[in-house]
């Protein structure tokens, strides 16, 4: 299967080099030089994942991410030149599934994309937690009978937690299983996603009743 990647980056040389290197990793890469162009193309064409540089001329990278996230759950990886916590968190809050910082290597990026697109485990039974119903093979979550829209990453995060049946899942396990991270435990990536997930499934996100924090270790779902 060939994975289609849309690369949104204003620096033409980076775009070219990354396209070449990602092609070597067996991806089909399309390029867009600006946010506007990317959004235009995404209206008609379909891609498996979008890479968005946060510093774009014209339409801001964050704006692109927000617009795309509003449209659906297409996996998005943001590329930042800065590693400041603020930029990374802003990108993730806007709806990105993951982030990489420059200078990024195609091999690392490829691993990220593959982790993001990894198929869900074979048909698990539907899980009920309180008024939440998760149907893994359909990829659907209902809360009190109403459909909740989760991104693919949020869904997998929820599934990992639900699959543990109330046992603690460590931060490392979550990072490894959901994002394929095995190095440099990143607190921000997980924290922001947990926050996003809570906003969607908790009655009161500030006082979570379903996704509970286990201080210093990880998270667990209320069983």
């Amino acid at each position: 299967m060939c994975v289609g990647v849309l690369l949104v980056e204003d620096d033409e040389r980076i775009r070219q080099a990354l396209s070449l290197a990602l092609s070597d990793e067996d991806f089909t890469v399309d390029e867009a030089g600006s946010g506007e162009e990317a959004l235009r193309r995404l209206e008609t064409e379909s891609f498996d994942v979008v890479l968005v540089d946060l510093t774009l001329p014209g339409m801001d990278g964050l704006e692109v991410v927000r617009t795309l996230r509003a449209r659906g759950d297409l996996p998005i990886i943001v590329v930042t030149a800065r590693t400041d916590a603020r930029d990374v968190i802003a990108g993730l809050e806007a709806g990105a599934d993951d982030y990489v910082t420059k200078p990024l290597m195609a091999s690392v990026l490829a691993a990220r994309i593959r982790a993001l697109l990894r198929r869900r485990g074979p048909g698990r039974e539907a899980v009920r937690i309180g008024d939440l119903e998760i149907r893994p093979h359909e990829g659907l979550v209902h809360r009190a009978g109403e459909r909740v829209h989760l991104t693919r990453t949020e869904f997998r995060l929820l599934l990992e937690l639900a699959g543990a049946g109330g046992r603690i899942v460590t931060r490392e396990q979550l990072l490894q299983k959901v994002w394929g991270y095995d190095y440099f435990g990143d607190t921000r990536l997980l924290d922001v996603h947990i926050r996003r997930l809570r906003r969607k499934i908790e009655a009161n996100p500030d006082d979570p009743a379903l996704v509970l924090t286990v201080r210093g270790t990880g998270y667990r779902i209320r069983s």
């Binding site: 070449l20 420059k102 990024l104 440099f184």
Partner: protein, 441 residues
């Protein structure tokens, strides 16, 4: 040994006050005791003269004895009448031989003497031609008063000297307080905290000093920030071209077999140096970010789990002995610390052979051991410096950024911990990281 300024001020205040109050006390003593003595003498003389007239009238009558007994004023006073017919005495028993001869032989006279162990005022008067009247007035009462007075004066002098010393100590402390603040602020700056400032001073003498100090510190901080920002800007600007280079390099490396001979070797050189360059820029950015911003995000975590996790990701073969230790730390930074130590061992000593985590009282200890050539004593501090190529002979094939151990040290310091390297028996080096542990009370 030279005494401290505070000590000297305290001593001179104490001594000064001691001198002043002693002079005052002495003067008081002289004036008061002289005055009281004169009063006593005058009253004794008046008394004696009245008595003499009474004695004169009944000198030859037989009632002289009784009269004299009536005239004595107390058990300690005595009256003697010496006449050619004999001696008549009353009151305390005193022999004429106990009195100074000059006083008895040439009346009238008066003197302060000690008779039979008692201080007295002796007054002599001639009576009826050839007899002598002698009366002794005891001074015990006055002596007791003098004793009390001198005790009061001495106590006053000593306590005022002590008060002076206390005052001196307090005053010098107050006067030197801005200096102590200055010293502590200067110490903090020397220790690397460029945000240390002196509080505003009300005193015009000190305000200028404080303002000068603060503006110097401000300039120093600005400059350090500017330097850090420059390093950060440079490495930031290098990121875009590096992204292109690294990825173009990866594409070329995949086609290595199409470039035989010289071109292939050159390609390998080029791509490996580009990779190293990329690592350097990333590390440089991280270290300059540490210099100018603080995104330390502490969290309570189990150090042993973190260490096991990092080792398991890339160094699965290295044995780990880790007991649970909870510390307050930033995961990303601690991950980085351990990974850098492991990479360092890999680069210079053929890889770590043992990793341990344990708790020593209130400190958590992480040890990374290798059996490489070890680190010579002289280089043990130096290898934690930025761009310090620690081990001799390794420069040629060194692929590190030169910042790995410097980053380790910065991160460990940020956690209020220490890191050092020591010898391992029988060979190799042991890198030790100590962090404050959370101890459950």
């Amino acid at each position: 040994m030279r005494l401290t300024l505070r000590c000297r001020v305290t001593l001179s205040f104490g001594f000064g006050l001691l001198v002043v109050t002693s002079v005052l006390a002495l003067a008081t003593w002289n004036l008061a005791s002289g005055y009281m003595l004169r009063q006593r003498e005058a009253s004794a003389t008046r008394q004696a003269e009245v008595n003499v007239r009474l004695v004169e009238k009944s000198l030859s009558s037989p009632g002289l004895d009784e009269l004299l007994t009536g005239l004595t004023t107390g058990p300690d006073s005595s009256i003697l009448v010496l006449s050619p017919d004999g001696l008549v005495t009353a009151g305390r028993k005193v022999e004429p031989s106990q009195l100074p001869a000059e006083l008895v032989e040439r009346p009238p006279g008066q003197a302060r003497i000690t008779v039979g162990g008692l201080p007295v005022i002796a007054v002599t008067r001639p009576v009826a031609g050839n007899a002598v009247y002698v009366e002794l007035f005891p001074l015990q009462q006055l002596d007791r008063t003098f004793g009390f007075l001198s005790a009061v004066l001495i106590a006053g002098t000593i306590s005022s000297a002590l008060l002076g010393a206390a005052l001196g100590s307090w005053a010098s402390k107050r006067a030197l307080k801005p200096l102590a603040e200055l010293s502590s602020a200067a110490g903090r700056i020397a220790g690397g905290d460029l945000r240390a400032r002196l509080p505003d001073q009300d005193d015009p003498d000190l305000a200028a000093l404080a303002a000068k100090f603060n503006s110097t510190a401000q300039a120093l901080e600005q400059r350090a920030l500017r330097d850090a920002r420059f390093a950060s800007d440079v490495s930031h600007e290098l990121r875009s071209p590096l992204t292109t280079m690294v990825n173009a390099g990866a594409v070329l490396r995949r086609r290595r077999e199409h470039l035989p001979g010289t071109a292939g070797t050159a390609l390998e050189l080029l791509t490996s140096e580009v990779d190293r360059f990329a690592r350097m820029v990333v590390d440089l950015l991280e270290i300059s970010r540490l210099d100018q911003t603080d995104d330390y995000e502490p969290d309570e975590l189990d150090l042993s789990a973190l260490v096991r996790h990092v080792v398991a990701t890339r160094w699965r073969a290295v044995p780990v002995s880790a007991l649970p230790v909870r510390v307050q730390g930033d995961r990303r930074r601690l991950d980085r610390v351990l990974a850098n130590l492991m990479e360092n061992a890999e680069r210079h000593a053929g890889g770590a052979i043992f990793v341990a985590v344990r708790q020593d009282g209130t400190t958590a200890r992480v040890e990374v051991e290798d059996d490489g050539p070890g680190v010579p004593e002289a280089l043990r501090e130096q290898i934690f410096e930025r761009f310090a190529r620690g081990r001799p002979g390794s420069r040629g094939d060194d692929t590190g950024s030169g910042l790995g151990l410097a980053l380790v040290r910065e991160h460990v310091h940020r956690h209020r911990g220490r890191v050092w390297v020591e010898d391992r028996f029988p060979r190799g080096a042991r890198f030790v990281v100590e962090l404050p542990a959370i101890t459950k009370s």
